[in-house]
């Protein structure tokens, strides 16, 4: 296994060849923000908030394999602004009402917005008219909150490797749907896993909620990414 050397924001880093940049940075104690990325699953590069500049060019860190001699910009005003803009777009494009959301405190979108210190979005709220699908006995889909990261499509599969979830419709109407022939096989355990992989509150377990007290939720005490930075 060969080792490659590269630089992130002037800091020399090493990683195994073939490693994706996002992971390689984290192994070196450098946090590159991400949302659609899910550890252990093939990257999609769909949310774009892990944008970095590699030798002067914008690239998504989750889909770019690291190579010897790369000079990477990560935490710069320009990149912070790009990421902030993307987060703001994600926020205004759906209906994200944190105050009553079950995922508040455990939500990665909310945590990124706190980390990037976004007080108000620069774009107008769209307030789209979206629905809630509560027809499944184990899982509830709240389309108001879905950011189309495809994590559920990639992670929730049956024993043959077939996904329970898929995109349906086109353009701004795209939404997550469940394969009608597989619905009945979505067990409580899979529903729990689906809720855990969802970065926001778009997939929720039925009849469960708010059972983690405030103060004990994932991002109550530390901002997202700080576990990587403090491990440095």
């Amino acid at each position: 296994m060969s080792v490659v050397k590269f630089i992130i924001d002037g800091v020399e880093c090493i990683a195994e060849k073939g490693e994706y940049l996002l992971q390689a940075a984290r192994q070196n104690g450098i946090y590159i923000p991400s949302l659609c990325h899910l550890e252990g699953y093939k990257p999609r590069g769909s949310c774009r908030i892990c944008n970095v500049k590699v030798n002067g060019r914008l690239m998504t860190a989750c889909t770019t394999p690291v190579a010897d001699g790369m000079d990477i910009e990560n935490d710069t005003p320009e990149l912070r602004d790009i990421r902030t803009a993307i987060l703001e777009i994600l926020f205004v494009e759906g209906n994200h009402f944190c105050p009553a959301c079950e995922r508040s405190g455990n939500c990665e979108l909310q945590a990124q917005i706190y980390r990037h210190q976004i007080m108000a979005p620069r774009f107008p709220f769209q307030f789209p008219d979206r629905d809630v699908d509560a027809s499944h006995p184990n899982i509830l889909k709240d389309y108001n909150r879905c950011i189309l990261c495809k994590r559920c499509i990639r992670a929730i599969k049956d024993e043959n490797g077939k996904s329970f979830f898929a995109f349906k419709k086109r353009s701004h109407k795209v939404e997550i749907s469940m394969d009608p022939t597989m619905k009945e096989n979505l067990t409580e355990e899979l529903a729990q896993r689906a809720m855990e992989v969802c970065p926001v509150g778009a997939l929720l377990r039925k009849e469960k909620g708010y059972d983690t007290p405030i103060g004990k939720r994932k991002y109550d005490k530390q901002p997202i990414g700080s576990e990587i930075e403090t491990a440095k």
Partner: protein, 481 residues
């Protein structure tokens, strides 16, 4: 030519409202109305949301007593998840949260909102007659008010997770118990800041009121006094209980007109009337109709309906309170302050007992039973009886929500109080002074209305008074800030 006075906005109340006073050609008051000009819509937009979201969602109605909405919704959902009887720790943690809420809200009302009228007089200089004036000239009283409020808020924090808009109560129970460290912050605390100090200060506030009463008997006894029915929850044995019980109402003479009924059937006894000039509905007891069926809720009503208070110090005060009206219901609006302070003392005693209860360290936080599709949750909020009623569909989504908020129950009584005071203070006067208009506000303030949650709000916080002539021409308008 007649006139119409508008007081807008009414100040030192929660929410936005205005008063209009119509005068005839001789300057006599012909009609007075308290208008609630805010609009909410919670009952509609919660439809379709999953039921378990309700306690966290509907509490956003208010930032003053969100705990009341949080708990009333949770109680209705306890019925839906088949767990009307919670575990000991579930019920006691909720009770602690609720009595912390009562304690802080009552302290807020008495010290921050009401005391300026008592300390500086109804017609006192408006620049001084506010909480800053109290802080500058009556430092001890102001400090007491601030710290009592802080104590109640911190009780809410350890039970609900946050001082405002927490998540503690979940259908069928609670999401945390009370750790020994959390308990000792209140039980032992530090000098000048623990539960014993709170009991002492509650007594001191009562003494302050009682000596004020002794000096201003005519004002406290007769200002906005009128006969009415009174309604509240009481414990099954007739004790004062602000968390749970059966519905009881008495008329102005003490005759029981609603006899300890199960509140799951509240719609059999209570209905609401809509009037075109206000966003706030007018509830009434069905049996007595729209005209005669109105009633008062809140501290005064609760002390009129209950038979006793189950904590010793508050019971002693209750006996004096009851003896003042020879055991008959107390119909004096300004005695609402007296009743509120007795409840404040009671809340402090209840908190002390709960903090000493080892059940609060139990681990069996949630219970579940056989699910139903409908539930009603009632609680005695600081301002009175609060009703939450939900129906869910087969997919666990809210299909119907009905909220009758404490202040809504006091709509007609506040209108009666306002009219009476306007007639007494303004009728036939050549000039309408700021003091006279404040008198109208004092009558409203006694009910500690929370106008924003009572209307199902758009608009600013403060109340406004206008003066119109018989042709509806605006003559004068006074805004208080």
């Amino acid at each position: 030519m007649g006139k119409k006075i508008t007081i807008e906005p009414v100040t030192r109340v929660e929410g936005h409202g205005k008063v209009t006073i119509h005068l005839d050609d001789n300057g006599n008051v012909t009609e007075t109305r308290l208008h609630i000009v805010e609009f909410r819509g919670f009952e509609r937009f919660v439809q379709g949301r999953p039921y378990w979201e309700m306690p966290v969602l509907v509490q956003r109605l208010c930032g003053i007593c969100p705990v009341s909405h949080h708990l009333a919704a949770a109680k209705a959902l306890d019925v839906i998840v088949g767990a009307p009887q919670l575990s000991a720790v579930g019920e006691k943690m909720r009770r602690l949260m609720h009595y912390g809420q009562i304690f802080q809200s009552h302290a807020l009302h008495f010290f921050h909102l009401a005391s300026p009228d008592l300390l500086f007089g109804i017609g006192g200089d408006p620049l001084k007659r506010n909480v800053i004036g109290v802080a500058l000239e009556h430092k001890d009283l102001a400090t007491m008010g601030v710290l009592m409020r802080k104590f109640g808020q911190e009780i809410i924090q350890v039970t609900a997770g946050k001082k405002i808009h927490g998540t503690g109560a979940i259908p069928g129970g609670i999401n945390k118990n009370l750790s020994i460290e959390e308990r000792d912050r209140f039980l032992v605390g530090k000098p000048g800041y623990n539960i014993d100090q709170m009991i002492e200060w509650s007594q001191a506030a009562l003494e302050f009121f009682k000596s004020y009463h002794a000096e201003h008997r005519a004002f406290i006894d007769h200002f906005a006094e009128f006969p009415s029915s009174h309604l509240s929850l009481v414990r099954e044995d007739g004790a004062l209980d602000l968390y749970h019980g059966v519905l009881r109402a008495v008329d102005a003479n003490g005759k029981r007109i609603l006899d300890d009924v199960d509140y799951q059937n509240y719609l059999d006894y209570i209905s609401e009337e809509v009037r075109s000039w206000s966003y706030m509905k007018f509830p009434y007891l069905r049996e007595f109709g729209k005209k005669e069926g109105w009633y008062r809720v809140g501290p005064l009503a609760r002390l009129n309906t209950c038979d006793f208070i189950p904590t010793p110090l508050a019971q002693q005060e209750f006996e004096t309170f009851r003896a003042y009206t020879h055991g008959k219901p107390n119909n004096m609006s300004m005695h609402m302050h007296w009743a509120r302070l007795i409840e404040t003392l009671h809340a402090a005693e209840v908190m002390r007992d709960l903090l000493n209860d080892p059940d609060l360290q139990n681990e069996d936080l949630v219970v579940k039973g056989k699910k139903t599709n409908e539930g009603v949750g009632l609680i005695e909020a600081p301002r009175g009886t609060l009703f939450h009623h939900y129906k869910i569909n087969e997919n666990d989504q809210i299909e119907m929500a009905n909220l009758i908020v404490s202040t809504t129950n006091n709509n007609q009584p506040m209108n009666v109080a306002v009219e009476q005071v306007a007639k007494e203070m303004i009728s036939g006067q050549k000039e309408v002074t700021e003091g006279m208009l404040n008198a109208v506000e004092v009558a409203i303030r006694a009910y500690d209305p929370c106008l924003s949650c009572a209307t199902h709000a758009m608009g600013q916080m403060p109340l406004e008074i206008s003066l119109y002539d018989a042709n509806d021409q605006l003559i004068d308008r006074k805004m208080s800030h």
